[in-house]
Amino acid sequence: MTAPAIELRDVTRSFPGPPEVQALKGVNLTVPDGDYLSIIGPSGSGKSTMLNLLGLLDRPTVGEYRLGGVLTSTLTEDERAALRARQLGFVFQAFHLMSRRTVLDNVVLPMLYAGTPRAEREPRARAALERVGLGHRMGFLPGRLSGGERQRVAVARAVATRPRVLLADEPTGNLDQTTTGEIMALFEELHADGLTLVLITHDGGVARRARRSIRLTDGRAEEV
């Protein structure tokens, strides 16, 4: 049996005070490969903390986090960076595209750090952009794209390294109704292709489109 993509065991993250704040309290979570999970909760419920932990940008105070079977708490910062590069893809609410680099350059960027074979980088970036329907925008600067197109570039950037898990943090937070629908449809296609997706949102409508959903309330997680 292969290890699940993500496994959280009794994870607590507290921020030293005063007053001490426990953003996550004893969370247990297993995400098998190929799953499509949404994490929903109001602001202040610990969603961002959850994303930072899952994305190896933060460490749990108590508890264990295994990513693809690897216990992450004993890793050095450089090993965690390498793991991020290889295993995870990020999509952010604010896109985080480099405004002075072309769309293609933006998608190539993570492959620089992930150790993708040099010759494969550009073809893969082109393929990823074709995949999200932006084959005709490769030489554009992000500033000339619409919000939905920018988010699709970000998705292409996240999947170009062929990560094990794609983490999306409020991916539709800056988008209108129509483009939200387009992005969600894109996620569903990627999921159908076998990508493991974890989507963090406060939008119930978005969350319901995932295969399963957990709700964070005051740092505690419950299956919906």
Partner: protein, 431 residues
Amino acid sequence: MRRIRRPSPPPRPAVVEKVPAADRFTLADLLGEATADIGSRPGRLVTTIVGTVLGVAALIATIGFAQTAAGQIARQFDAAAATSLVVTPATAQTGGSGGSGGSTVATGVLPWDAVERMERLAGVDSAALLAELSLPEATVTAVPVNDPSQAPPAPPALYAASAELLDAVGGHVATGRFFDSGHDARGDRVVVLGARAATRLGIERVDNQPSVFVDGIAYAVLGIVDRTDVRAELLDAVIMPTGTARDDVGLSTPGDLQARIAVGTGPQLSEQAPLTLAPDEPDSLQVQAPSARSQLGQAVQTDVNGVFVILSVIVLLAGGVGITSVTMLSVVERTGEIGLRRAVGATARQIAGQFVAESVVIGLLGGLIGAAVGVFGVVVISVARGWAPVVDPWVALGGIVLGAVLGLLAGGLPARRAARIEPVEALRGGT
């Protein structure tokens, strides 16, 4: 109990499989990422590097002017010495063991067409053969009469020379003329007198066609030389054409070669001359040529204007502070980008490296432009003043390196700051 030694941790299995070296994030990747944004904001780039440009330019101009002035002074002082080249056959001691009765004999010999050969070399303005005739028994007088009551005066030195000698030693004829190549070829019995030799022989003018008698043979005096730039001993001598000397006194070898050369060609010509004149045995000839730079020039060069150097260094420091502050600003602006890079797998070291590389490239650019401006300034002002501009190429190269080092130092602080940015914080913001 004190623990002496901590056991080393057991080796852990590699968390992430190794990436082949060719696919890792290399220095080339780092430079690519660091330079990708440099040109995207020309206005800011200009404000960033202007201090470095001015500092490096001022420093190079200061040193360049000092060198130019030194070169200028040296040129005025030793113009004659810097243009005189003498080729002599090598000599060796023979005979006398124990230091007595030994004599020096020439081990090499110049060809008779040495003048033609030398004048083919670049940098040789003119060349002439010059041989001292040692005729210990010879008498040189202006009158053919042997006056037994008069103590025999020491005869003036006797030289054989080719017609180009006047030009080669920078001589000036006070009266009459110098012999020409026709006299030389025909072996005409003519001589030219040095001014002091003429006085001793009692000859003041040549329009009455005076003669001197060398070993009883009459030679027509063509002219009197009163000034030479080099070989001042010629003023005490009687000079006859080489061809005449061969016919009359049995001159067997052409002696020395005296040449006037362009300034600065000494080192090059001292290598070329022996090869040209004796290709089969270049070691048999010795060359006395001026070195590239005179002692005087060296002395003056060290006297670089201290005040200007200090000013330039201050401007340079300001340039460094400029790079630091603009790069710092850029770090703050690009917080989101830094967070993203960290999230997609860049290590803190790679982020720091990127900003250091960026400021080194900016510094290098500043050094490059500054060096060009400095050298250009020296050239323009020198040309306007009619000086020969002198800038040591190492000074210009040093200016470029200085810019890069400045960028390296200036980039340290922003790079530390960039490396410390927490991706969590960085990704929260916009852009």
